[in-house]
């Protein structure tokens, strides 16, 4: 007799625990507004990443096409995997002195690990982290970027 009680008791307990679980899942089925899913890519227009989100390295330019990069190469030294190559050139400034300036700030997005070390190390704050995360391209060579825009020059008053 006891064995039968135990047998049905186990079944009853089992069903009860299953129902407890299903109560929770049922609760969420009927409260769908509590969902956390984002409708990406439909929400692309309104999607805003956090300010500090590290999507890519960018070099902001002002309206006169000027940036803050002196071509010192400190970011290149701090990069752990060689994602940055600095090609500098010598320019003659107005007062006749020879000065180093950036020719090409080459950034290999495909190699970058988004560690933020270059941004932190840059003495003039010339590079920052951008929030764009949609980097898929058809051709790998498109991932190599030149960060200083063509024809841009260093802004006035930036000291090394």
């Amino acid at each position: 007799m006891n064995a039968i009680f135990e047998y049905f008791g186990t079944i009853f307990k089992g069903v009860k625990t299953l129902l407890t679980g299903m109560k929770i899942t049922g609760k969420y089925v009927f409260t769908p507004w509590k969902h956390v899913t984002q409708q990406y890519p439909e929400n692309r227009e309104t999607l805003k990443m956090f300010d500090r989100y590290r999507g890519e390295v960018i070099m902001p330019h002002n309206e006169n096409n000027e940036h803050l990069c002196t071509g010192c190469g400190i970011c290149e030294l701090n990069c752990p995997n060689g994602s940055i190559e600095i090609i500098s050139k010598m320019v003659v400034s107005e007062d006749g002195k020879k000065k180093r300036a950036i020719d090409q700030h080459i950034y290999h997005l495909g190699m970058c690990t988004f560690c933020n070390l270059c941004v932190k190390a840059c003495p003039t704050g010339a590079i920052v982290m951008g929030q764009n995360f949609e980097h898929a391209v058809w051709d790998r060579s498109k991932l190599t970027k030149v960060l200083n825009q063509p024809g841009s020059k260093i802004a006035q008053g930036v000291k090394e």
Binding site: K13, G14, T17, L18, T20, G21, K23, I24, T25, V36, M49, F50, R52, Y53, R54, N78, P80, T113, F114, C115, N116, L117, K120, M129
Partner: protein, 377 residues
């Protein structure tokens, strides 16, 4: 006709010998590239030989060529679910070697971040554990809650997994102005959600049947195989580095080292759930009391360690993580060795699973909470 007869007769005498089966390297329940060579007799597992190295990335060797701040960003990629703790281990090791004392603010924030990572890691483990045993619901529920922690990380650190938030001497940035509010909101919400975990999975009859008294690991075996973390504590091995060798703000907070002696799969499962409650307790003690101050001390542009050997251990979500640096006084180390908890825990699998059915092997492996890059690094 006679041929068929012969076959039928001889099939009586077919010798059910033991045979070898490869589980992995692409098995879904290994959650990565892990290969287990399983020796079976019928359905019963006799012996398991793990084979590692499929995604070996040579991080230790890479570390010899790069500077100390750069090493930290590589440790994110080992145990990616405990990235904060791994970062912190290297940062602490460098700070101890240089005898730099970090401000209290840094210690508090580091500890909060550690515990948030532990929560996130245990949440992911919980949902994957359910999934391995066939309960797909848990997978979504766990990820839903984990998302809030990842948002906190993303807002303050700039990344969700590979956070790289610790630097030698402090933190990469100060906390975001929203940080405290977000953490408190999350804790309030999560304290309501955590009992649901129990109702969904811990009390479930099928789950209980599949974990109770399965995968026993004795205290002796846990110690001799170096099984640390919740897996070791489930066998009664008191190995919590946060208690035994406190670092950062752990000496200042009240919390319990959860221990149990039963040593089976369910105990290891239960301890992780209990640890989540403890993590919540730790964060609650700290979150309102973060002292004012700098978020980093000024370090030299090029950090050079004095000649010698340095070791630092921390408690990650999986167990004891150690960093061993040999420096010859240059800006990059002479040799770096990481003691990763996953590696030691994995090799105790044979002790736990031998004698059980092959389906239980999956459950037992789940309770070890393996992260493959942590094993292979």
């Amino acid at each position: 006709m006679s041929e068929l007869k012969e076959i039928i007769i001889s099939s009586d005498k077919i010798h059910t010998d033991q045979y070898l089966v490869n589980m992995g390297p692409q098995h879904p329940s290994t959650h990565g590239v892990l290969r287990l060579l399983v020796q079976l007799e019928g359905e019963i597992v006799h012996h398991i030989q793990p084979h590692v190295g499929y995604i070996h990335s040579g991080i230790e060797k890479m570390c010899e060529a790069i500077s100390y701040p750069q090493i930290i960003h590589l440790t994110d990629r080992m145990d990616y679910l405990s990235a904060h703790m791994n970062n912190e281990a290297v940062a602490l090791c460098v700070e101890n070697a240089l005898q730099v004392e970090v401000p209290d603010r840094v210690k508090y924030i580091r500890t909060i971040m550690d515990e948030l990572s532990r929560l996130a890691s245990h949440q992911l483990w919980w949902c994957v554990m359910g999934m391995d045993l066939g309960a797909l619901t848990t997978f979504f529920y766990g990820l839903r809650d984990r998302e809030h922690i990842l948002d906190i990380f993303e807002e303050t650190c700039g990344a969700r997994l590979t956070v790289n938030y610790n630097v030698p001497g402090g933190l990469m940035f100060d906390i975001h102005p929203n940080f405290q509010k977000r953490v408190k909101d999350f804790l309030k919400e999560f304290k309501k959600k955590l009992p649901e975990y129990d109702q969904l999975l811990s009390d479930n009859v099928i789950f209980r049947e599949r974990t109770n008294n399965i995968g026993y690991l004795s205290l002796e075996d846990a110690i001799s195989w170096g099984v640390t973390g919740p897996s070791g504590r489930g066998s009664g091995f008191s190995c919590d580095v946060r208690k035994h060798e406190p670092y950062s703000a752990y000496p200042l907070v009240q919390f319990q080292e959860k221990l149990d002696t039963k040593g089976d799969s369910f105990t290891r499962y239960k301890l992780r759930i209990d640890e989540m409650w403890e993590s919540i307790r730790i964060i609650e003690q700290l979150i309102d009391n973060i002292p004012e101050g700098d978020y980093a001390v000024k370090m030299k542009g090029v950090i050079k360690l004095p000649e010698g050997e340095f070791y630092q251990r921390v408690e990650t979500a999986r167990g004891e993580f150690g960093v061993y640096i040999i420096s010859d006084g240059k800006k990059n180390p002479y040799r770096v060795k990481f003691r990763s908890p996953g590696f030691s825990n994995l090799f105790a699998l044979n002790k736990m699973a031998a004698g059980h059915k092959i389906a239980d092997l999956v459950a037992i492996m789940s309770t070890l909470d393996l992260v493959i890059p942590d094993i292979d690094r």
